[in-house]
């Protein structure tokens, strides 16, 4: 295998119903850094039916190039058709790194493609870097339930591939004036050769908690003491228009349903403001919230690891601090005519 033939960082642009998944845009941001370090182009590759209009968005979010395979058979995601498209592109253009979102479809596709390419694939990566001299992708992921991180390398095979968890990387601010190259490839697929058919897609809008999209989150831990005490977090959240979440302990205690759990085995969140209240900051939790813009921790224990993560920390009893906070926010809201809104400073 001649490694010099393999150049470029590629991102799988997952689209569903003509809408690009958030994780793909995040990966363009992460991929931009890798491509700049390696001094190679960053490309997005896009499969589907009538998906060409999405190319502009891929470029705006950081790609220099967009590779498109457009075919009616690719209208819905299926492993067998999508992997043929990916194999066509990868064998022709030979990228050195390919990243996929760790969504059900992204993981499914990457696993199948890795098998056919006989190359390495690292699952559920949460940190990415590249060694410029060796051109090795350093894909790190939590191991053993998140207690430690393992950096996985693929030294002897190309391309190097990884799936990356949604919400852990940051998308770039889109630049609609950015220029890029669009390359279209033709593929010969026949519906009658497909062994699977998607009969129906049901989008379940009710089930998904809006934690993932919340701008402000109030997250409580077991340190709240009991489920009654926990209620004041709802009051705080109500006052400031936030969403309530909890740690695994809280969910296991039955104070909150599982879909409101934040952390390694729950949701990963990236709000503007994150209130971490009466929670210690176990690494499994931190993995799920550390990309919040502003983290405010309130905890009795001055040595709680959450203070290492927090932008601002208050050592104190949540049952004393939180009611005072609520009072302050309510007063502020009254001053502003019953409506609380922090505008972006100009």
């Amino acid at each position: 295998m001649n490694f010099d033939e393999y150049r470029g960082v590629w991102i799988f642009i997952e689209q569903n119903d003509g809408k690009i998944e958030g994780v793909s845009l995040e990966l363009l941001g992460a991929g931009r850094k890798l491509a700049d370090k390696l001094q190679v182009p960053l490309a997005g590759f896009l499969l589907g039916s009538e998906v060409k209009p999405l190319a502009k968005q891929v470029i705006a979010y950081g790609a220099d190039e967009v590779y498109i395979v457009d075919h009616p058979v690719l209208k819905q995601y299926r492993t067998e058709s999508y992997m043929q498209g990916v194999m066509l592109l990868v064998e022709k253009y030979k990228p050195e790194i390919i990243l996929y979102g760790a969504t059900p479809n992204g993981k499914d596709l990457a696993s199948a493609v890795a098998t056919d390419l006989v190359t390495g694939l690292t699952a559920d990566t949460t940190m990415l870097d590249v060694d410029v001299d060796s051109r090795l992708l350093e894909a790190s992921r939590p191991a053993f339930g998140g207690n430690i991180m393992a950096t996985i390398l693929c030294k002897k095979h190309r391309p190097q591939m990884a799936t990356v968890r949604p919400k852990v990387m940051k998308a770039l601010e889109p630049d609609s004036g950015k220029a890029g190259r669009i390359i279209e490839e033709n593929i010969n697929l026949k519906e009658e050769n497909m062994r699977t058919k998607v009969l129906q897609i049901v989008n379940d809008v009710t089930k998904k908690a809006n934690l993932a999209d919340a701008h402000v989150i109030v997250c409580g831990g077991k340190g709240m003491g009991d489920v009654q005490n926990f209620q004041i977090l709802y009051e705080l959240a109500d006052t400031i228009g936030a969403t309530v979440g909890g740690t695994r302990d809280v969910v296991e205690a039955g104070w909150l349903p599982h879909e409101l759990q934040i952390g390694q085995t729950g949701e990963t969140v990236t709000p503007k403001i994150y209130f971490a209240i009466a929670l210690s900051g176990a690494i499994q939790h931190v993995v799920g919230m550390k990309n919040s813009d502003l983290i405010i921790a309130i905890n009795k224990d001055p040595n709680a690891p959450i203070f290492d993560v927090a932008t601002y920390g208050i050592v104190g009893d949540a049952m004393e601090i939180v009611p005072k906070l609520i009072e302050q926010f309510k007063q502020l809201r009254n001053e502003k005519g019953g409506e609380m809104s922090y505008a972006r400073k100009i």
Binding site: A112, T151, V198, V202, V287, L294, Y312, I314, V315
Partner: protein, 275 residues
Amino acid sequence: MHIVVCVKQVPDTKIIKINPKTNTLDRRSAPAILNPYDAHAVQEAVSIREKNGGTISVLSMGPPQATAVIKKSIEIGADRGYLITDRAFAGADTLATSYALSKALEKINKELPVDMVICGKHAIDGDTGQVGPGIARRLDIPPITNVIEVSEVNLKEKTVLIKRKLSSGYELIQAELPCLLTVEKEINHIEYSPMPNMIQAARYEPVIWTVNDFENVDRSQLGLKGSPTIVGKMFTPPRPEGGKKIEGSADEQVKQLMDILMEKKEVLTLQSSKQ
């Protein structure tokens, strides 16, 4: 109908301890169990057999003591089990694992043609979910991952109806047999094992194969040699830079925090829910 369920013996990660000095797994701290997702895979095979008849085989790769998870699968209701165990398999990543398992599946298929392979969504020790689709590619059968319901098996038409979980809901898929499914936990409930199954499991001795039992096997694709990925290093996750602690009495602390929040308003796009 012949269903093969792939199962793995894993340490119970809920109980597992990490040695803080060496950052390595203290395996003695955790009991070895049948991977919970694989238990659901066996249970699903049992449900399918109840409606359609047939045979359930269980396949595992691991050290000799992994026979325990095959016995556990017999307890849930599988008919027979195969363990592939050999030093040549040691250190396999997902690519090498799917290769070894596919070789065993080819051999099982010669004994009795396989209509369906079922795996758990992922193993709780590796968390990758890559072995299932890998096996499917090697056997050239369609993989359907993240399955939450198998609603109808049509043996005459050789098709199956499947509900597959997506990020935003689910999809209904019709697949041709043979195919490979990986199942989510919500697909079923593990039922209590009937007494006859437990007796049968206690007495059951699985078929044991080593690499020499396979035909046309490329040894360079097995174990550590056949694994493109390697662990470069292990480290404790870096924590983001900590900020400053706000000092003073509770009232002072709250007042300072409010001042900071107001001053920092360029980062806030907070909107009241009561607009």
